[in-house]
């Protein structure tokens, strides 16, 4: 049996996102946890706190004009 969200946890996440879903949609979302967890595991590496993200902030020519 794959892990899933409890009703309470899912309700919290949906309320936080401001989404109002039907019961059918909620049940379907709960079945996706395995797939999402696998993706989340793949982006986590033993990299330490200094590893920078790809998106960085920089000034463009337009910003400095």
């Amino acid at each position: 049996m794959p892990p899933t969200f409890s009703d309470e946890a899912l309700d919290y996440l949906l309320a936080n996102a401001g989404l109002t879903l039907t019961d059918v949609q909620k049940q379907e979302l709960k079945t996706l946890r395995d797939g999402l967890d696998a993706m989340k595991a793949r982006v986590r590496q033993p990299r330490g706190p200094m590893a920078e993200p790809a998106h960085i902030f920089g000034f463009t020519a337009e910003d400095l004009a």
Binding site: L21, A38, V43
Partner: protein, 463 residues
């Protein structure tokens, strides 16, 4: 009239041997003959097209063409803003949206003298999949109308393959140019991130979105990119790179070039169909015969790239459309509702970890490509599936061969590499270093000219 490539038509128009009006009428004739089966157009702008073709013809007769696109019939994906022409994003939410200004890419193609045939269908907001609950039906594959075109630039893929337009605009967040190019048997390039302005184009995922050309050949994509590329202050991610001559290396061949094959992507990480594998293997033999040096390249598993791109994509999309998701979720089609719901399940920390992984993967590809000109893998796993066989949650169904290069922002083109047992096209994907589109076009062009796949159009076109 046989369907010319953009390059062929441009030469004939410049020599005053082909009338832009006659060319446009021929394309319109194909639209009237086939689009009730293909549903490539959301909106056909026939009167405007004929007026623009007449104006182009008059200007060319007087002063010659102002670009190779002058008088060439094109189409725009319906997430590209067009002043005075509806831009609906195939959504109920924007059915009454008529922009007051052109997207930068639309303005550039108009300035080049192209003839706008109309707006082309798309998955809703360039997301989801083939849907039957949207304002217009999904596009169908000209090679077999029961099959998927891929998306989200589905209308552009179908319209180019069937000769209803000679080239068109697609957008690509995880493969939405290259997927339809692959399944419709045409050429489609996702240029380097930032090379073509995103201004005026509805977002899917800001940091993964690319705008690019789709056409019958790589050379035609190069011609189109020449008019599209360049810095645009309206796009905060716009690059400020010098623009080379993208057709300058067309015909130069591949002798001495170094090609890496990411064999594990399509052989072990997610094994492709036999016809796709054969197409890639044959292509490598062709490149060797033409004098290129071919070697294997190893990267992180395809699933890592897919996970990184997918998490970024679902989060950025949910942020972009959060306001409407909160207030009008039911007005989106079923597939986009599902995608937007996913955003609720990805935390801010998940997103940042994906963006940190992205930096690592970018560095990994850069290191792997040192000493190489391009790398190659599949463009799609096989021939187009039947339209009713596309998984509802396709993001979890299989890793995608195109999204790795949205993650890195690299230029990547899909070209036809043969046909499968059902008679539908298969493809390969050629990936270059940032801003090295001319090399990508050079290699794709050499492959197209060494093979005969560009001589065959869908049977319905010949009929």
């Amino acid at each position: 009239m046989t369907i010319p490539t953009v390059a062929e038509a441009a030469k004939l128009i410049a020599a005053k041997k082909l009338s832009p009006v006659e060319l446009t009428k021929a394309c319109l004739g194909r639209v009237h003959a086939m689009d009730d089966q293909l549903h490539a157009f959301v909106l056909l702008t026939e009167e405007r097209a004929l007026a623009e073709a007449k104006a182009a013809e008059a200007a060319i007769m007087k002063d010659g063409p102002r670009s190779p696109l002058h008088g060439i019939p094109i189409g725009l994906k319906d997430i590209v803003d067009t002043a005075g022409i509806p831009t609906t994003c195939q959504s109920k939410i924007l059915q009454d949206n008529i922009p007051t200004t052109d997207a930068t890419c639309a303005a550039k193609l108009a300035a080049a003298g192209s003839v706008l045939m109309g707006k082309l269908t798309t998955h809703e907001f360039a997301d989801g999949g083939p849907s039957f609950d949207l304002p217009k039906p999904p596009a169908r594959n000209p090679w077999h109308t029961g099959h998927f075109t891929a998306g989200s630039s589905s209308g552009t893929g179908a319209a180019v393959a069937s000769g209803m337009i000679l080239c068109g605009i697609g957008t690509d967040t995880g493969g939405s140019i290259r997927g339809p190019a692959a399944l419709c048997g045409i050429a489609g390039i996702k240029p380097t991130y930032g090379l073509v302005s995103r201004a005026g184009v509805a977002p899917a995922a800001f940091s993964l979105d690319h705008i690019g050309p789709m056409a019958w050949t790589a050379e035609d994509c190069a011609i189109m990119l020449q008019s599209l590329a360049g810095h645009d202050p309206r796009d905060p991610a716009s690059a400020s790179q010098p623009i080379p001559d993208y057709t300058g290396l067309i015909g130069a061949g591949v002798k001495g070039l170094k090609i890496g094959v990411i064999r594990h992507f399509h052989e072990t990480d997610f094994p492709v169909a036999a016809a796709t594998q054969r197409g890639i293997d044959d292509a490598m033999m062709t490149f060797r015969d033409l004098g290129a040096v071919v070697s294997d390249v190893t990267l992180s598993p395809l699933q890592d790239w897919h996970a990184c791109g997918s998490l970024i994509s679902m989060t950025e999309r949910a942020a972009a459309y959060e306001e409407w998701a909160r207030t009008r979720l039911g007005d989106f089609g079923d597939r986009v509702q599902r995608r937007l719901m996913l955003g609720a399940l990805v935390s801010g920390v998940d997103y940042v970890q994906a963006v940190r992984r992205r930096r690592e993967l970018q560095a990994e590809l850069k290191a792997a490509m040192a000493g190489l000109d391009v790398v190659i893998t599949a463009g799609a796993p096989g021939e187009a599936a039947k339209l009713d066989a596309i998984a509802r949650w396709d993001v979890f169904a299989a890793p995608n061969f195109t999204i790795p290069f949205n993650v890195t922002g690299s230029p990547a083109i899909c070209v036809c590499s043969g046909f499968g047992p059902a008679g539908l096209p298969v493809s390969l994907q050629i990936v270059g270093k940032p801003f090295q589109e001319a090399t990508v076009f050079r290699i794709a062009d050499a492959f197209e000219k060494a093979t005969d796949f560009r001589t065959k159009r869908p049977a319905m076109v010949a009929a």
